[in-house]
């Protein structure tokens, strides 16, 4: 009995403390080191933040380089699919183009009217765009995020809006010297104040961890109203973080759950280049 317990202790001791000729550290040392890193990581100390930024800089760049062949294959596959669907897409786009031409006419008028009204109340929106390349867009079960190649040296700040063409895709949550991490709208922790048009209802779009969002904090009758007509989701600009009027997505009914979900305009899995947008509302009063 005592000898089997001794064997167990010897095996455990050997597993944790024994180093072979090529190992520089014992297992126990490294386990303690990881525990120390976990504990220190939860403190917001300057030195730890700098250490984290350093690691992020190296890892993000390396991850980008390592993923080059895979991204090339992905791109080839996408090009091939697009090529195969060329004719169908052409037909669809032709119809869409005619529709858009009609809408553009009324849109031009609205833009002019909006400009005049802003001049009337002496208010103007100054926005500044920074173009950035997506370095890493690896999906994770914990965080829906992308890494951009612009950081604090390019004057990127926490909370800045990220736009794909004209569609909002997320906000900056971590800034390093030459790169930054963006929390996508689809992340569980993402909450954006929005305006549902044409009903003019204020709400919040929350991420679900999947490729769609849900509407939160609205009146109960909203759900029934949404069924009747097409509803587009825009940023409301509340909280001063995002420029008002950035399109986010369209509300559709989910076939499985029979609930209203926000279908994002931008496909977050195919982001190559994005714009980092900062804006200021200037009032002359």
């Amino acid at each position: 009995m005592a000898s089997s317990r001794d064997d167990f202790v010897i095996a455990i001791r050997s597993a944790f403390l024994k180093k072979s000729y090529q190992q520089k550290f014992s297992l126990l040392t490294l386990i303690f080191l990881s525990l120390i890193i976990i504990v220190l990581g939860s403190f917001n100390l300057k030195a730890i933040q700098l250490f984290k930024v350093g690691i992020n800089e190296v890892v993000y760049r390396s991850s980008f380089i390592v993923s080059v062949p895979e991204n090339y294959i992905k791109k080839l596959n996408l090009q091939f699919t697009e090529h195969m669907e060329l004719f169908d897409n052409y037909k669809k786009n032709e119809i869409l183009l005619n529709d858009l031409k009609k809408k553009k006419l009324s849109n031009d008028f609205l833009e002019l009217e909006n400009k005049k009204l802003r001049e009337l109340i002496n208010e103007s929106i100054q926005s500044k765009d920074i173009y950035a390349k997506v370095l890493v867009d690896r999906d994770s079960p914990y965080l829906k995020s992308i890494i951009l190649n612009k950081g604090s040296k390019d004057k990127v700040k926490l909370g800045m809006a990220i736009v794909d063409d004209i569609y909002l895709v997320g906000k900056v949550i971590e800034v390093n010297y030459t790169n930054s991490r963006v929390l996508l709208l689809s992340d569980l922790n993402s909450k954006i104040p929005v305006l549902l048009e044409p009903k003019d209802v204020h709400a919040v779009v929350s991420g679900t961890g999947k490729n769609y969002g849900v509407i939160e904090y609205t009146k109960d009758e909203y759900d029934q109203e949404a069924d009747e007509s097409e509803t587009i989701v825009y940023t409301s600009g509340y909280g001063g973080l995002f420029k008002p009027g950035l399109p986010i997505g369209k509300i559709i009914k989910d076939k499985n759950s029979k609930k209203n979900i926000v279908n994002f305009f931008s496909d977050f899995r195919q982001l190559d280049y994005v714009k980092i947008v900062s804006y200021v509302v200037e009032s002359k009063y």
Partner: protein, 172 residues
């Protein structure tokens, strides 16, 4: 002379192949641990670490495993140190198994893998949920554990043939 150099290079490449694959899988954008497919995912890194450290700890150094864990945390966005801790726990189990096993048997290793990943995933999920307040889907962890266990024989077959090649090259 040139063939001798080529052979040495090939031998080193084969010897460091597990380390290379480990770093590629944590740095690469394709994450087999999260394939975005409903009810399907498996942890390739766990299989890799379990197999190679169980065979011989020299194939995959503990230092490399520790660093790959840190990289994994940065890339997937979990608190730094969590993955290193989990990877090293697997190493601890395999080191213990190596010490108590005289004649290795596939079934024993396979069952041990199940217990190891159940232990490691439980620790990881609980730490993320209770300490770091991450939204954790326990069902996904359960499915992931199941598929990692199921896929082990497939990778065992591949890694076994690779290990044989490494041994042959080493003895040349």
């Amino acid at each position: 002379m040139s063939s001798l150099n080529k052979d040495t290079f090939l031998r080193s490449l084969l010897f460091y192949f597990p380390t290379l694959i480990l770093f590629l899988s944590v740095l690469n954008e394709i994450d087999l641990n999260y394939l975005n497919i409903e009810y399907f995912s498996f942890n390739f890194v766990y299989i890799l670490i379990f197999y190679w450290t169980l065979k011989n700890a020299n194939y995959l150094g503990y230092g490399s495993i520790f660093i790959s864990g840190l990289i994994n945390d940065v890339v997937i966005g979990t608190p730094i140190g969590i993955s290193s801790f989990c990877f090293l726990l697997i190493c601890a189990v395999t080191a213990y198994l190596r010490n108590i096993t005289i004649t290795p048997h596939f079934i024993n290793d396979w069952i041990s893998l199940l217990f190891t990943i159940l232990l490691v995933n439980s620790i990881q999920a609980l730490a993320l949920d209770l300490i770091f307040s991450f939204e954790v889907n326990y069902m996904k962890y359960f499915i992931n554990t199941g598929f990692t266990f199921i896929f082990y024989p497939l990778f065992l077959f591949i890694f076994d043939s690779l290990e044989r090649k490494i041994k042959i090259k080493k003895n040349d």
